[in-house]
Amino acid sequence: MSENFEPRIVAFCCQYCSYAAADLAGSMRLSYPPNVKVVLVPCTGRVDPLHILRTIEDGADGVCVAGCLEGDCHFLEGNFKARKRVAYVQRILNEAGVEDARVRMFNIAASDGPGFAEAARMMTETIRALGPNPLSTKTEKMTEEL
């Protein structure tokens, strides 16, 4: 793993909670790793396994799906559906030979700016420890070989 590896992480954040938390973390001037790129979704229940798989396929080193606290989903149970789908994608990645820890579900309240910063740190650390997306490294290696 290269010393200066900077993970690229895509976070699907729901409009009502975790996106608001990310926003709040910003207004509170909390520092968190810039590795996490936020994609706004109306509800984590909208995140399809295919969104996550394609994100990995396209080279992201990690993907998080961040929704409201359990029981607080604006659409009642979108975050529970998302949790199951994340678990499903983890199983598929395992089967395909990619570490399942690259994909993770978080639940963060809208008022929890520090919680978002902490989740971003945690995810960045996990991915830093895992190293780059094995798909991009393989491709790089192959291009070198050619």
Partner: protein
């Protein structure tokens, strides 16, 4: 409907060994309803296979296409052009196993493989849970059993009442399975027809299932 389930990725990868350009074909019929081989599942599977093959250091190109039905030769024709134009070496079919057989019979230059295991003729128990209801024995006799099929739904296929393992309405073979004989008896009691169950039934004639080779149904009046 036909209930199917995706095969493990590992098995599919073994089938695809040596193929670098493949068409993954889904079906909009039964397997879409049971979330095994519709447009979405085809997308997920294609992505998973591409990821796995890149991980193995031998990327694969997988195009996706989902036919209205794969159990109709007419729809299989839609594959002619892509197969002719794109140079696929293999077609992986995500339909019940009728689909891959039709494809295999039609196209003699490409390998054909099933992405799914066709499990049974069944129905929905609850959202995303399916169970077997009929074994297609070819000579339905469920009117003798209150409209419920012991051939399929009794784990031992018993025709003259429950085994000794029926307990609390559940089957001894698997506790989450209803003992169909418990249901048959309850229903016949409600219908006031318990006596009917006591009639000795002759051994099931399985010729409608086994004999005479491949079974066919012909509607003479409607044939062209």
């Amino acid at each position: 409907m036909i209930i199917a389930e995706r095969k493990p990725i590992k098995e599919l990868l073994e089938m695809l060994a040596g193929h670098d350009k493949v068409l993954l074909v889904g079906c909009k019929g039964c397997v879409t309803v049971c979330n095994a081989g519709g447009v979405k599942e085809v997308g997920v599977l294609a992505s998973a296979l591409r990821i796995a093959r890149r991980r193995q250091g031998r990327p694969i190109e997988i195009d996706e296409m989902t036919l209205d039905r794969q159990c109709e030769p007419e729809f299989i024709s839609w594959l002619e052009e892509p197969i002719r134009e794109k140079g696929y070496t293999a077609i992986m079919s995500a339909a019940c196993s009728v689909g891959p057989q039709y494809i295999a019979e039609r196209f003699d230059k490409v390998a054909v493989m099933p992405a799914l295991n066709t499990k049974f003729i069944g129905g929905t128990l609850e959202h995303e849970v399916w169970a077997e209801f009929c074994r297609a024995c070819g000579n339905c006799g469920i009117h003798n059993f209150g409209g419920l099929c012991p051939i399929t739904r009794c784990s031992k296929g018993l025709l003259h009442g429950p085994c000794a393992g029926s307990s609390g309405g559940k089957c001894e073979v698997r506790p989450e399975v209803d003992c169909i004989w418990h249901l048959i008896y309850t229903r016949m009691k409600n219908l006031g027809q318990v006596e009917k169950l006591k009639a000795l039934k002759p051994a099931k004639d399985w010729s409608s299932y086994w004999s005479g080779g491949v079974r066919r149904v012909v509607r003479e009046d409607l044939t062209l």
